[in-house]
Each structure stands twice: as structure tokens, then as C-alpha cells.
Amino acid sequence: MNEHTPKNRLLKSPTGVSGLDEVTGGGLPQGRTTLICGDAGCGKTLLGMEFLVRGAIEFGEPGVFMAFEETARELAVNVASLGFDLDELVARKQLVIDYVHIERSEIEETGEYDLNGLFIRLGHAIDTIGAKRVVLDTVEALFTGLPNPTILRAELRRLFRWLKDKGVTAIVTGERGEVTLTREGLEEYVSDCVIVLEHRVREQVSSRLLRVVKYRGSTHGTNEYPFLIDESGISVLPITSIRLQHDVLSTRISTGVPRLDSMFGGAGYYVGSSCLISGSAGTGKSSFAAHFADAACQRGERILYFAFEESPGQIIRNMRAIGVDLARHVEQGLLQFRANRPSYYGLEMHLATMHKAINAFEPQAVILDPINSFVVGNNSVEVKSMLMRLIDFLKSKQITTLLTSLTAGGEDLERTDTAISSLIDTWLLLVDIESSGERNRGLYILKSRGMAHSNQIREFLITDRGIELSDVYIGPAGVLTGSARMAQEAQEQAERTARFREIERLRLGLEHKRKAMEAQIATLQAEFATQEAEALAIIEEEEALKTQEVLDQSAMAANRQADH
């Protein structure tokens, strides 16, 4: 027979525990027994209970919980905080909780015995409600409660076989042993599926991890997956399974600073890309983040803001001081803050909570401010892996990610603590420009995948109306900033004024000259007129004289009786 025919394929019972079904490729092996082992307090009982509760509610499979350690009442109270109403399920005959109490001091062993009593109890419980799922928590309690381990071992082996014959999908929990997976070596009997839960503390923070050690007849994720226990039960995060295959968008989203948008080819960041704003202390990273959030909220988009250093109140106050009102967006429900100390819990837990918050809020963009606070000691590799998984997850959901990162003074600016540059699509670097005795803020785009972007170093000012990018002034020593820029501006202004005055003066001088010239012309004309008049008078006189002379000569000739 071909092993790949669906008929022969191992059937699986979905657990309904978010993420676990992805890790196990569909659930626990149906009709078989799964061993869940781990130290005290790592969530074994809860995982078992959630398997039953979800089985009953979501998959219509009733379940039996055989508790060796807690009473039905205690269990009901313990899981009520996770939103499970056991009493109701019991009343609806979808769940049976059988508390098995063994008091070693009351029991005397007087010869051969078997565990038929347990079998009958379990069988009875299964038959009453037609259970498909069974949890035995923690069956190892039998070893402390009953004498003669040899008999117990044989009986347990029989129990697991019996469970298989019954066709129920079972979970058996066991305490972690020193050498073996469980204290009593239960893994020898349960050979189909073994899941190990761990509660690890590192750098004083704890993280819960789940690993599928063995899954006979099925592929499964082999990594340690972080998981989370909160008000909605367990969630496992199989984030590392995501490959680089997310769809990309070519739409853009504004940076919130208009002149910065123009540096990014006039349109801002790509939707669904990962953007990093890095810079040393006080360069205005959060302010850029706030501008981005403000602009997005004004467009009616939802923003999830993870703050790791400041409280939401503090951020809102600080941003109000630079003219960005985030409070109204919070009131409208467009902006949500999640403030946690990075050391509050482990990286995996952070990842898990962020994951959950993102799934719940479904934002268009996520802000992480700042990411470097995760780095404690030398865990930067883990931080990188966490951020990679987070960014992958966000990209797969086409959520724009804005990260801020603090660069320590004196360090290479184009290096981040977390060495995540390869994960970043757009990197905006904020720098302190020190010159002529002052520090000024500058920014430049270190990289921006897939778009033409400005190569200029721009100075920006944080004013009470927000971030403003200044004009570019390039002096002999490079970009001029701060007072140098202002001096340059003033100088240019002065030069402009001087030139204007010069022209004015020229114009006036010309006017004067023209007037002088016109006056001169008038004088000359007047002079000429006088001379002309005089000359005419003389000429007239002369003419008159001449006529007189002719008359006189004729008269004289006539008088002398000349014959000319």
C-alpha cells in the first residue's frame, strides 16, 4: 500500500491552541497518546485543559480530564481566569473532571494488585459523555501514591495501550526528570508524540518555550517556539516558519513631515516596509515617530505604538509640546499605546505579546520605540532574531513598521546595536552636527530600498509646530547648520539688500543727471534765444541802416548831379 494515500495518513486532532496546530502540522495524533512534559509551573495542566475545552467548544469532541493533583474545584477556579467556564461544560456533558486522590499514608499494600479501578473509572467517564479526548494530569502521581513501581509500570503500559484501543486522543503530562524527559520515564511508553514545555529564565527574565521532541509519522516544527499564557489561553508562536514570500505593495505612506516626504521621492515610505530611524540621544527619533503616527491617524489609519522607554502619558505630553496632538487619536481609538519595560519579560514573551496585540488591533502601522532597549548583555543575536521574526510577521500582514534605535555616543552611526540593518528597507539616520561650538540636528537617508531618494544631509529643527526641515546651505566646509546657517542666511540677506540699494542709488543718480542735463539744455536754449534775439535785432538795424545808406547816397548823388 502506498503510504501517501490519504487513507493511510496519520489523522490529527486539532488542539485549537493558537499556533500549536501550525507547529504540529494539524494537531496531535488522533487516537493516540501525547506526552507533555515540563517542570512545575510550565503550563502542562493548562495546555491539557485547553485541549479539552477547545475540543469540546470548537470541534464538538467531549473530553475527560483526570486530575491527580488538583481537585475539580481548584481546576475550575484556576482556568476561569483564562476565560474557560468548566462548570458549564460539565453541565452540558461535554467535559468530565475526575479528581483522583491518592493518599499514600492511608494505603497499605498487601499483595498483588492492578489498576483496573482506574481503568474502570476512566472508561466509565469516557462512555458517559462519549469522550474523544482524554487528559491524565499528572499520571506520575501514581508513583508517589502507590507502592510497588514494578506493577505500576506494567499497568501504565497497559493503560496507554488501552487508551489507544479506546480510540481516544490522549494527553499525558509528566514532570521533567533529571536525566530522562519525565521523572518516571513515561516517554518509554508514549512513543507517538512528545512535547516539552520549558520555562527558562535568562538575565532575570523568563520565557516560556514549547518544543515538539518527537512526532511519529509526521513532520513537525523542531524549533523552540515561544508561547504565552494570558487571558485567552495559550498561544504558541511559530513565527520562524515564515519564509520570505510576502506580497509587496508599491503604495506609499507619508512620513508625517512633508519636506521629508519629498526627500523620499515625494511620497514617503513604502506601505508594508520596515523603516528604521536611528540616532544618538536627543536627536528626535520619537518626534519623527510621533509625526508619522499623527499623519497616519489623521488619514484614519490605526497605529500601534510600542513604547519601551516612556509611558504613553509622557509621550503624549512631550509630543504636545512640539505641536503634535496624539491624545485625540488615542481617544478616537486610532492610536493605541503598549508600554512595557523591556526587562518586564523575555524577548519571546515580548514577541508573543506584540504578536497578539497586532492581531487584535490590526493596525496599518506599528511603531517600536526604541528597539535597542531589548539588548541586555550580549543577547543581540536573540534580539535580531526576534526582530526578524516580528518584521517578517508584519510584512506578511503588510503592516508598515517604524523602528527607532538609539546609537550610543562615539559609536559608528551606521551600525546599530542590534545589527538589524539587513532587515531594514528604509533607514533614516539622525545625526548631531557639531560645528562652531554648537550641536545641530541633521538627517540623511542612509538607504531606501526601491526608490530614488535624496542624498542630501538636511538640517531639521524641532519647533513648537513640529519638525521642520531647513533649507540647505552649503558653505565652503560642507552643509551649514544652526548659527552658521543663520549667519549665512543673514549674510545673503545683507548682500541682497546692499545690491538693491546700489541699484536704487544708480537709478537716483541717473535721474539727477537727467535733470541736470535738462536744466543745462534749458539754460542753453534760453541763452541761445537771447543771443538770437540780439543778433536779429542787430541784423534788422543793419538792414535798416543799409537802406538808409542807399537812400542817402542817391540823395547825395542827386545832389551832386553825379552821372554814375
Binding site: 491518592i102 499483595g111 494488585y113
Partner: protein, 119 residues
């Protein structure tokens, strides 16, 4: 040790004398297995020897009444439960180790006490 052919599911009860003195013993079995039969036989012998006339044995077959298993927190079969006198004590196994049955039922000290009183 000897094995008597007794039907364990037969309800054997003998009560004589003052009721306060009567021992109520309950033997849980699951069908007529050799272990159950052995346990009942052993129990009868011990009772006849040490508690003659002031004991009562109930036999509960869990195959017939599985719902009764949780009441006395029965896991192992056979289990003998001393309901009265209190406190409740449990003895598991086929009761072949008489010495341990007597310790388990607290009959050892009872006997000694009785002897002392009798003197």
C-alpha cells in the same frame, strides 16, 4: 494460605452484637478475577479469626457499578476499604500478606489493646 471458592459478588454481611462495634469493610473488585477471589478468601479468614461476629463485608464489583469507583477513590483492584471504625483506611492487593493486612486494618494494636483490657 488457602483459597476458598467463594463468590465474591455475593453480598456477605454478618452483624452481631453492638452496632458501634461492627466493622464495616468494603471490598472493591472488578469481576471474578483470581486476585479478587483470593482477596475475598483471605479477607474472610482474617475477619473470622480476628473479628468473629462483629464485621460486615460489602463487595462492590466495579464492572457492574463503575460509578462507585470515584466515591472511595479507587484506583487499584482489589482494594479493601475500612469504612468503620473511622478513620477510613485502604488496603490494596490480594490481601495475601496477613501481617500487613492486620497492620493496615489496625487490628494488631486493637488485638493487643483488647488483650490488655482483658487481663
Amino acid at each position: 494460605m488457602f483459597a476458598k471458592s467463594v463468590r465474591p459478588d455475593e453480598d456477605e454481611a454478618r452483624s452481631e452484637g453492638a452496632t458501634s462495634d461492627v466493622w464495616t469493610l468494603r471490598l472493591y473488585v472488578a469481576g471474578q478475577t483470581p486476585k479478587s477471589i483470593m482477596a475475598f478468601a483471605n479477607l474472610k479468614n482474617i475477619c473470622e479469626e480476628h473479628l468473629a461476629g462483629r464485621y460486615k463485608i460489602e463487595i462492590i464489583d466495579l464492572l457492574e457499578n463503575p460509578q462507585l469507583a470515584s466515591g472511595d477513590q479507587i484506583l487499584a483492584i482489589p482494594t479493601l476499604v475500612r469504612k468503620l471504625p473511622e478513620p477510613v483506611r485502604k488496603i490494596i492487593g490480594d490481601l495475601s500478606n496477613t501481617e500487613r493486612v492486620l497492620v493496615g486494618l489496625d487490628l494488631r494494636s486493637q488485638e493487643q489493646g483488647g488483650d490488655l483490657n482483658g487481663r
